[in-house]
């Protein structure tokens, strides 16, 4: 079964600390993985996708097929990073996004 697991509901860090939001997936085949972010009172938006291999707002995520993980990392968290983060996967033969339950990141000053 296709599944995305985000084990942490809440992650709290202080400004300047490193951040890692965990994401594990279950999928037979080669999934395409995404991180979506929802800032307070804003709509859900794409943060990054693994095939782009880019850094957005200082965040990176590497697909580890051996560990079936796609953790989101940032070396130095900023207060404006406080938001809800969702990991998602999509299969090539459908266009449905399967989301994890989300992790709320709180960055304290």
């Amino acid at each position: 079964a296709q599944r995305v697991t985000q084990p942490e509901k809440l992650l709290s860090v202080f400004k300047g600390a490193p951040v890692e939001l965990k994401c594990n997936y279950s999928y037979s085949g080669s999934p395409e993985l995404f991180w979506y972010v929802q800032y307070s009172r804003q709509r859900l938006q794409l943060l990054l996708r693994h095939i782009s291999r880019e850094s957005i707002k200082g965040f990176t995520a590497d697909l580890n097929k051996g560990e079936t993980s796609f953790h989101l990392k940032k070396p130095f968290a900023q207060e404006e990073d406080s938001a809800m983060y969702y990991c998602a996967l999509i299969s090539y033969n459908t266009d449905k996004l399967i989301f994890g339950t989300g992790t709320r990141l709180q960055v304290f000053p």
């Binding site: 709509r43 794409l46 999509i90 449905k96 989301f99 339950t101 989300g102």
Partner: protein
């Protein structure tokens, strides 16, 4: 407008009433999705429309839920005989031929 729009932004209804939620996708986007966002449940896929193909209804939680997409554009999600557990934020997203989905602001449904 440039983005996906949804109406109403908030809807409060009494248990047992029917509700209709509307989604206006980005012009030219062939795919349209409905999701439900509940506290502690994350984002739950409901239904997916792609062009003129039959919709993928595999995520609809019960036969009280239905959706239409008229003319390949606007979509309406209908919930009949609403229950308190239907209370959630209902999100619509549209997508061009790529997999990048653009989300609307959502409709917050409260069933009393």
């Amino acid at each position: 407008g440039a983005g996906v729009s949804q109406s109403p932004s908030n809807k409060v209804t009494e248990k047992g009433k029917d509700v209709e939620l509307r989604c206006d996708p980005i012009s030219g986007h062939t795919a349209l999705y409905w999701y439900r966002q509940s506290l502690g449940q994350g984002l739950e896929f409901l239904i997916y429309f792609q062009g003129n193909s039959a919709p993928d209804k595999s995520g609809l939680p019960s036969d009280r839920f239905s959706a239409e997409r008229t003319g390949g554009s606007v979509s309406t999600l209908t919930i009949q005989r609403t229950q308190q557990e239907d209370s959630a934020v209902y999100l619509c997203a549209s997508s061009p031929r790529t997999v990048h989905q653009f989300f609307g602001p959502g409709t917050r449904l409260t069933v009393l």
